[in-house]
């Protein structure tokens, strides 16, 4: 084709030839110097001082409660390894180990397949050897060539509480995570444990620590002949200790109160965002995932219809029921859609279009104004009143209270819940698939709406602090930020507080089982009874308790428990009482 003639000059050519010669010549010189000039030095190094770097596992950071009581600890476990080398009959070795120490030979061969890297490197065969297994293997050492033990730190949870959904657990790193971190500094090796759920996962980087390294001399066949003296190893740097906001005593009471039930219980300090106790029931022993998991225990946990592995605190999603009336009432008041003297008549049910909506009190509440509608939790009042409002305005206010998005509490995998807007309903049911009935339902916290207990405690914290509370957290040293709720006039927040106080203290209040014995303890709250398709309604209670400048908020959810005022309120009262016993109260002041 020859489109343009080549006109490279001789000097251009020579410059590049010279460059190439210099570059490759430099490489040749360097290799010559290494392989010929310094050969003896490296030969000795390779022959005599074969150095192998063996990682030394760093112990994970410990986890304590708010006053320094231990929640998660480490203890050493022994791992049985084999260095295959010239070993020909693995099967026979595994059979022999089974006979001596009673470890299933199929498990040994399974682990061998899984962890094999090279025939010169030790392969882990079994972990968590008992003392009797260790001594039995040691007694028969002469007929078990090539086997060794490694001591590695392992996790256990010594405290009297379970706290399993908060602590989470650690698990052996999987292949995907392992290869994903290869480019980020090779911090993990096959067989390493890594935080998988809860605090253990959320603070993995903080708790993990840096593995150290020990240098071993190995002989020509790769057998370790001792520690390498000329090169000191690096000691492992243990992970950082973590102090949680959890109060061990309160947590113990909370777990006792929730025993035999399904649901969630949270107590927090709205002034700091600290969570003092957190139960997701039923739970499991945190030691379930440490050491060897017994098949039977696993089966029990997995087949339990109440799903003990589900973290109801952040991933259980429920309709909030009448607790949502706080938001409906705030909307009606803030937009001046209604005044507190206006009344509606409650006959126990309400006809709207071709549907009948019921009040929980089938005999009706008679003539109802706003305070009475909150105190006695009258649905019919809200069915009437909410028609002055717009569905999206109500949804927007709910979102300002943090519903519909994760709270950002320091636990992984938090659910967002659902706040139905017009757009959401149209997308789900079609333009004609829903009607104003959805607004009526939302006003009493029913229908499409779903919330998590964690969102509920953030919500009640916003109410308790008049719209601005520090973010929720479990780590005492966590950096908090301000969660900004809706900006309402202070008088309106105070008005809502008097209603919430009346819910508990009025003679017909639905929350009277939350009432306090002491006059100096201010209490208020709201009950909720969330209808659901899975049987009995879910019982809710959200409450605030205040003694001088110390505040505590509480959320109780009992799945399929019945009426919030009858089932959830007494539990909330018991835990708040514990939170304000003298020791707790005055230790903090």
């Amino acid at each position: 084709m020859l489109k343009v003639e080549n006109r490279v000059t001789r000097s251009q050519f020579q410059v590049l030839v010279l460059t190439y010669l210099v570059v490759i010549g430099a490489l040749l010189l360097r290799y010559f110097s290494l392989q010929i000039y310094e050969h003896e030095k490296f030969k000795t190094q390779a022959e005599v001082n074969r150095i192998r770097a063996v990682p030394v596992k760093a112990p994970r950071g410990l986890i304590f409660d708010r006053s320094g009581r231990l929640l998660a600890d480490n203890y050493p476990i022994y791992v049985l390894t084999v260095t295959p080398e010239q070993l020909t009959d693995l099967g026979a070795l595994f059979q022999r180990i089974q006979a001596v120490a009673g470890i299933d030979s199929s498990l040994l061969s399974q682990n061998y397949q899984h962890y094999f890297q090279s025939k010169y490197l030790p392969v882990p065969l079994a972990r968590d050897l008992s003392f009797s297994q260790l001594s039995a293997l040691e007694e028969n050492r002469y007929e078990l060539p090539y086997i060794h033990y490694q001591k590695i730190p392992s996790r256990y949870y010594p405290s009297p509480v379970q706290l399993s959904h908060v602590l989470g657990y650690i698990k052996e790193i999987d292949q995907a995570t392992l290869s994903a971190q290869l480019n980020q500094g090779h911090r993990y090796h096959p067989g390493d444990m890594i935080g998988w759920k809860g605090i253990e996962k959320a603070y993995e980087d903080y708790l993990k620590g840096e593995d150290g390294v020990q240098y071993f001399e190995v002989d020509a066949f790769g057998r370790e002949v001792g520690q390498y003296r000329d090169r000191p190893g690096e000691a492992p740097a243990p992970g950082h200790d973590l102090f949680l906001t959890i109060d061990l005593d309160l947590q113990r009471t909370a777990e006792r109160l929730m025993q035999g039930r399904a649901g969630a219980l949270l107590v927090s300090d709205p002034g700091t965002g600290e969570i003092l106790c957190a139960v997701s029931a039923p739970d499991y022993s945190p030691d379930l995932f440490t050491g060897t998991i017994r098949e039977q225990e696993w089966e029990e946990v997995l087949s339990d219809s109440l799903k003990p592995l589900l973290n109801r605190l952040t991933n259980g999603q429920y309709p909030p029921g009448s607790t949502f009336k706080i938001i409906s009432a705030l909307l009606l008041l803030k937009d001046h859609l209604i005044d507190t003297t206006q009344v509606f008549h409650c006959s126990g049910s309400y006809h709207f279009g071709d549907r009948t909506f019921h009040c929980w009190n089938e005999y009706g509440h008679g003539t109802v104004n706003l305070p009475k509608a909150i105190i006695q939790s009258c649905n019919v009042y809200f069915f009437n009143a909410i028609q002055k409002a717009d569905l999206n305005a109500l949804a927007a206010l709910a979102k300002e209270f943090g519903f519909g998005s994760p709270t950002g509490v320091d636990l992984p995998f938090e659910s967002a819940g659902i706040i139905p807007t017009k757009e959401y309903l149209t997308a789900k049911f079609g333009r004609r698939g829903w009607s104003t009935g959805a607004l009526l339902n939302l006003a009493i916290g029913q229908g499409e709406i779903l919330v998590t207990p964690m969102q509920m405690i953030q919500f009640i914290n916003l109410v308790a602090t008049h719209g601005r509370t520090p973010s929720l957290h479990f780590n005492r040293q966590a950096h908090t930020h301000w969660v900004q709720g809706p900006q309402l006039p202070d008088s309106l927040w105070k008005q809502m507080e008097t209603y919430l106080q009346a819910v508990v203290n009025h003679e017909h209040g639905t929350g009277k089982l939350f009432r306090s014995n002491s006059d100096s303890l201010w209490v208020g709250g709201k009950t909720g009874t969330a209808e659901n398709p899975h049987g009995e309604p879910h019982a809710w209670f959200v409450g605030i308790a205040r003694y001088h400048d110390i505040s505590r908020t509480v959320v109780v959810l009992i799945e399929n428990g019945g009426h919030g005022g009858e089932v959830a309120a007494p539990i909330a009262r018991a835990i708040i009482q514990q939170a304000f016993t003298e020791t707790n109260l005055f230790a903090e002041r």
Partner: protein, 407 residues
């Protein structure tokens, strides 16, 4: 065309033999590595490598048979497709934390490898469309933009090693095309001003060198003074700007420039790799006898550190043979590019030779600790399908420059 139609009679058989010889050395090293690996023989990497080699040679032949006019005509189309290619991994899941690979039916492909081919062709086309006397600042800037786009995408994947390789042909090709060396120098100078600024002696030496070069190039007084002082000024300001960055930003830049730094990692790798090569001596420890290799002291010994396996088991003799073969091959490519009558083909072949040289240098220098560890394979020798195929495709295109009669 006496020998039939499938090969031209001036076909450079010795070039092919040299390259296949290099690949053979690689396969021998892979077979040795396979000796101490678990699994049946057909699971070992050398079997896959032989398959890759067959594919690569066939593709090289197909490319060799393509008429030059076609390559010239569709140069920018290829370039566009190449850009789409390097963007593809962003639509796939990250592999090992980067967007380097796409997986096609279970095979992982690295499109940035092919970008090397497209980029050099496009650059050769652009530069060959301009006569040497027409290569002014405007053309230099345009060719820089041509290179900067794929380099930016690949660096963002992040794959700094490949980005460096993609950047490597730019200045040599501009020089080959006849751009004024002084102009090219003006573009490199600011970079050197920034880099030397952190070391007083280097910066002083650089200042003197800069003055000398400017003086010898005889620009107008105003231009010379401007260039000189703007460079000095840039250098003096850069430590200040560096200080303005937050520590985590500095850390991020340093990690980006040297991602492999870690306590158990690169320093240890280099010591082990040097020990392997040094202990090999003149004749090596013999095939399958490398203790460093078989005790798994060396990571990624199949791809990036394959020279340490060769050095340990086969000795300096084979290392020297490999390096001299590369030198002979690359200088031969330069000579044919110099003698080639077509400007486009000449630039293309020369650009590919730079890509090869950059790979050889970075890989061989890293293996013995002359430069920080960068994961780049050795052409024709290292294990890995994408780069082997790319290397042979480049070879097929280079052979175009050997033809007396261009179609």
């Amino acid at each position: 065309m006496k020998t039939g139609t499938w090969l031209h009679d001036d076909f450079p058989v010795h070039v092919i033999l040299a390259v296949l010889g290099l690949s053979l050395v690689g396969i021998i090293a892979l077979i040795s590595i396979g000796l101490s690996q678990p699994g049946a023989w057909y699971q070992h990497s050398y079997v896959k490598q032989i398959l890759f080699l067959l594919i690569a040679v066939s593709l090289a032949y197909l490319v060799y048979r393509l008429p030059v006019s076609r390559i010239h005509k569709y140069a920018y189309t290829f370039y566009g497709l190449g850009l789409v290619g390097v963007t593809m991994p962003y639509f796939f899941h990250r592999v090992a934390g980067t967007h380097r690979w796409i997986s096609l039916g279970g095979i992982q492909v690295q499109p940035s490898e092919l970008a090397k081919v497209f980029l050099v062709i496009a650059l050769a086309r652009f530069l060959s469309d301009h006569k040497p006397e027409n290569l002014k600042f405007r053309e230099i800037i345009l060719s820089m933009i041509l290179v900067a786009i794929p380099v930016g995408i690949v660096a963002n994947q992040p794959d700094l090693g490949t980005a460096l390789i993609l950047f490597a042909p730019l200045f040599p090709m501009l020089f080959w095309a006849g751009a004024r060396p002084y102009h090219l120098f003006l573009f490199i100078a600011p970079l050197l001003s920034i880099l030397t600024a952190f070391h007083t002696l280097s910066f002083s030496l650089w200042g003197i060198l800069l003055l000398g070069i400017i003086y010898l190039s005889r620009p107008t007084l105003l231009a010379g003074v401007t260039v000189y002082f703007s460079n000095l000024f840039l250098g003096l300001l850069s430590p200040y700007f560096w200080g303005l960055l937050k520590p985590y930003q500095q850390e991020r830049i340093l990690t980006f420039l040297n991602p492999e730094k870690d306590p158990l990692g690169s320093a240890y790798q280099i010591i082990q790799s040097q020990t392997a090569i040094g202990s090999g001596g003149l004749f090596g420890k013999g095939f399958g006898q490398g203790t460093q290799t078989h005790l798994k002291f060396l990571p990624v010994q199949e791809s990036d550190f394959i020279l340490s396996v060769i050095g340990e088991e086969l000795g300096f003799i084979v290392i020297a043979a490999v390096l001299i073969t590369f030198a002979w091959l690359l200088i031969r490519i330069l000579r044919t590019s110099y003698e080639c009558r077509d400007r486009f083909v000449s630039l293309m072949a020369m650009g590919f030779s730079i890509i090869f040289l950059a790979h050889v240098f970075v890989n061989a220098a890293m293996t013995v600790g002359m430069i920080p560890v960068k994961g780049l394979p050795l052409p024709f020798i290292s294990y890995g399908g994408s780069f082997l195929v790319t290397s042979y495709i480049m070879l097929g295109l280079i052979l175009k420059s050997e033809l007396k009669q261009l179609d």
